[in-house]
Symmetry: C2
Subunit: 383 residues, 2 copies
C-alpha cells in the first residue's frame, strides 16, 4: 500500500532530495566470497546508496537492511520527488534515521535483483545468468556482505542498524555474531523463527513461481518469457498477509466497481487493488530472487539452541529496540516477545514495544507516529 | 486434514455402511431452470445420496448442504469402509444427524463436478463442455435445486438442514426465502458477508487458475491439459486459511525432512503436507467448478439491506443454531454473531455458540465433541 492509498499525507522532516545508486565490486574473481554453506561466489557486486555524511571519527553510521522485496533505494528520489525511496518516512533530515546526524547506508541484498549480485547476474563460469545455479545462502551471509560494504566505506563500528522483517533478521544476526560493532539495533516486525504458517505461505508462493510453465527451471532469462503468472500470484497472496483483515475492511470493504450481476472480472475493489499490486511487482522484481530471499527467511533460526544463544550473547553491549504492530499477523508481537526474552536472559539491554496500527505488517513502512517516535528517541539516546 | 493426520481416531455411533450416489434430471430441456440472473439452464441433473428412511408422514428429512469443494458423498462408503464420506463424523446411526431417526439427503451442488450439472457438463447447444459459458448463479439458485430434489423425493417440509461455510449459506437462504419449510437450521462457520480479506484470498485463487497457461479460457477439457498448477496453488493457499496457525504449529512446527543445507525442495514437513493436499485435490475437482462456487460465496449478502431482512424474517418459525470455532480465522465467530444479531432482531429463536477447537475452519469436519453434542441436542429437541 502506498501512503496515499492508506490516507497518510503528513510527512515529518524533509527529503534527502536527489540521490543515486552506486555499485562496487566487493569480492573479485580471485577473491571469492565463501558462503556459510561452503560454496564460493565471485564476483560479488553490491548496489548501495548513502545519505548524510560520515563524521570525523566515523562513529555515526547507520545501516538500513531491507526486507524481502526491497532495494538500495531507501530514501530521497531518483529525479521525481513524488517517487521517494521505500523508507523515506523513516530516513531524512529531521526524521528518525536523521541524515543531519547520521551517515546512512542501504544496499541491495545479496541474491537481490536491483544491482547486487543475484540469480539474474551473469555466472562467469557459463556466461549466462545463474538461475538456480546461484548458491543457497543465509542471513549470516547477508551480514557478511553488509559488513564488507561498510569496510569499503571506511566504517568499522556502527551507531546503529535497522531493519524490518528480513531486515531485522540481518540486524539481529549482526549483533549476535559481531559483538561491539552495533551500538543500537532496531528490529522491526522481527521473527527469529518463522512459524509453520509463515513457511507455508512462502512455500505456496514458491510453488506458484517454480511450477509456472515459463519458469524453465530458473533459466527463463533467455526465453523472453518470465514466470509472471506465478510471481504475480505469489505477490498477491503475500500482500494479503502483509495487511491486516481490519485494514482491508477499512479500505475496501465490499465495495464493487460494477453494479451488475456476478462476474469473474475484477469487481470488488480489493480485487482490482491486488491485481495492480501483482502487476506492479513484475516490473521491479526477479522471480529467482524471490525464491532465494524468501527461503533465507524460512531457515533463519538463530536461537535454535537457546541456551547456547544466551551464553553467546552474554555481555553483548548492543542496545536492542524491538517494535511490532498489534495487527501484524504475519510477524506478530509474540515473536518479538520471544526474541526479547532470550536477549534479556542474556542480560542485554532491550526495549520491546507493541505499537497500535491497523495496517498489519505493512505498518513498518508507514508513518505511524508512535513507531517513528520510538525509533527516533532510541537512536538518539546517548550510548 | 484427515482425521488421522490430526490424531482423531475415536468415532461416535456407527457408519451407514455401503451407499451409492444416484442421479436424477430435475429440469429437462423443455423445462429449463431459470436462474436468479434470468439465465436459463437445461438439462439440470443432480447427483445425490440418501441415508436412513423417510417416515410415514414425511417429516423426518434432514438436508446436508456441502461447502465449496464437497460432493454428494457425505456419509457411509462406496466399497472401502476406510474411505468414508466427507461428513461421516456427523451423519450415521447414533450420530448427531442420526440416520436411525432422520432421512438424510445430500446432493452435489449446481455448478459442481461430481455428478451435478456444472461447467464441465456438456452444453446441449454446442455439444461441448460449458466451460465459462456456464451461467453465473447464486446461493438462492443452489437452494432452488435443493428444493426441487426434495420435491422429487416427496418431501415438502424438513426437520432440518445443516451446512458449513457455503453449506450454511444455503441453509440460511432457504430459511429466509421459504418460511415454514425448515424446522431446524444448523449454520456452521457461517458468514453472511465475506470480508475483503476473504474475497481477496478467493480472488487470488481464481487468478492462479484463470492465468494458468492451460486454462484456455475455461475450455481446457478437450486439450488433454488442465490448469493443474493454478488449481493446486489455489488449493494449497486455501488450505493454509482453513487451518489455524496454532494447528499448523502443533502438527508440523519447523520439523524438517532432510538435515542438510538450504534447498528449494520440500524440506519443512508443512511443505510436503501442502504439496500432497494440492496434488490430491487435482484428482477430484474441476477448476471451473472452483471458480463458480467460490464466486457464489463472494456475492452472498442476504442482509445487505438489514432492515428489509429483519422485516422479512419476522415471524419466521425456523429455529437456528449457529456454531463457530474460536480458531477459525477465515469464517470467524464475529460473522456468526452478526448473523445471530439480525435473526434475533427479527424475533427468531437462535442459539449461537463458539466452540473451542485448535483446528480452525476445518474443525467443522472434525469430531469435536462439544460441537457434535450441540448439533445432536439441537436437532433432537422437540420442535
Amino acid at each position: 500500500m502506498t501512503h496515499d492509498a492508506l490516507g497518510f499525507r503528513e510527512a515529518r522532516g524533509s527529503s534527502v532530495g536527489p540521490v543515486e545508486t552506486r555499485r562496487v565490486v566487493l569480492w573479485g574473481e580471485d577473491d571469492p566470497l565463501v558462503l556459510e554453506t561452503g560454496s564460493s561466489l565471485a564476483p560479488v557486486e553490491v548496489a548501495y546508496e548513502t545519505y548524510g555524511e560520515l563524521n570525523g571519527d566515523r562513529s555515526n553510521a547507520v545501516v538500513v537492511c531491507h526486507a524481502l522485496t526491497g532495494d538500495a533505494h531507501a530514501a530521497g528520489h531518483h529525479g521525481d520527488p513524488d517517487q521517494p525511496g521505500w523508507w523515506d518516512t523513516m530516513i531524512g533530515p529531521g526524521k528518525p534515521v536523521d541524515t543531519d546526524r547520521y551517515f546512512v547506508v542501504c544496499s541491495n541484498l545479496l541474491g537481490g535483483c536491483n544491482g547486487t549480485t543475484g540469480p539474474s547476474s551473469t555466472d562467469p563460469a557459463t556466461g549466462r545468468p545463474y538461475g538456480l545455479r546461484f548458491p543457497q545462502f543465509t542471513v549470516r551471509d547477508l551480514v557478511t556482505v553488509q559488513r564488507r560494504l561498510l569496510a569499503h566505506l571506511g566504517v568499522e563500528r556502527l551507531h546503529g542498524a535497522i531493519g524490518g522483517s528480513l531486515g531485522g533478521m540481518q540486524v539481529l544476526q549482526w549483533a549476535i555474531d559481531h559483538p561491539g560493532e552495533l551500538a543500537h539495533a532496531v528490529l522491526v516486525c522481527l521473527s527469529t523463527r518463522l512459524s509453520a504458517q509463515n513457511i507455508a505461505f512462502s512455500s505456496v508462493a514458491r510453488a506458484a513461481i517454480m511450477r509456472d510453465e515459463h519458469f524453465a527451471g530458473g533459466d527463463y532469462y533467455a526465453t523472453g518469457l518470465t514466470p509472471e503468472v506465478g510471481l504475480s500470484v505469489a505477490r498477491m497472496m503475500a500482500h494479503i498477509t502483509y495487511v491486516s483483515e481490519e485494514a482491508l475492511s477499512l479500505k475496501f470493504g465490499r465495495t464493487r466497481q460494477n453494479g451488475g450481476g456476478p462476474t469473474f472480472d475484477p469487481d470488488f475493489e480489493v480485487e482490482t487493488y491486488l491485481d495492480h499490486q501483482g502487476a506492479k511487482f513484475l516490473e521491479r522484481f526477479d522471480a529467482n530472487s524471490y525464491l532465494y530471499l524468501s527461503r533465507v527467511m524460512d531457515y533463519f533460526d538463530p536461537f535454535a539452541d537457546e541456551e547456547a544463544a544466551v551464553a553467546a550473547l552474554r555481555g553483548n553491549p548492543t542496545r536492542f529496540l524491538l517494535v511490532s504492530f498489534d495487527t501484524d499477523w504475519r510477524f506478530p508481537t509474540s515473536h518479538s516477545q520471544a526474541t526479547a526474552e532470550v536477549l534479556r536472559r542474556a542480560g542485554c539491554e532491550v526495549v520491546q514495544r507493541e505499537v497500535e496500527s491497523p495496517w498489519g505488517h505493512d505498518s513498518f513502512l508507514l508513518p505511524v507516529p508512535e513507531y517513528l517516535d520510538l525509533v527516533d528517541s532510541f537512536l538518539g539516546a546517548p550510548s
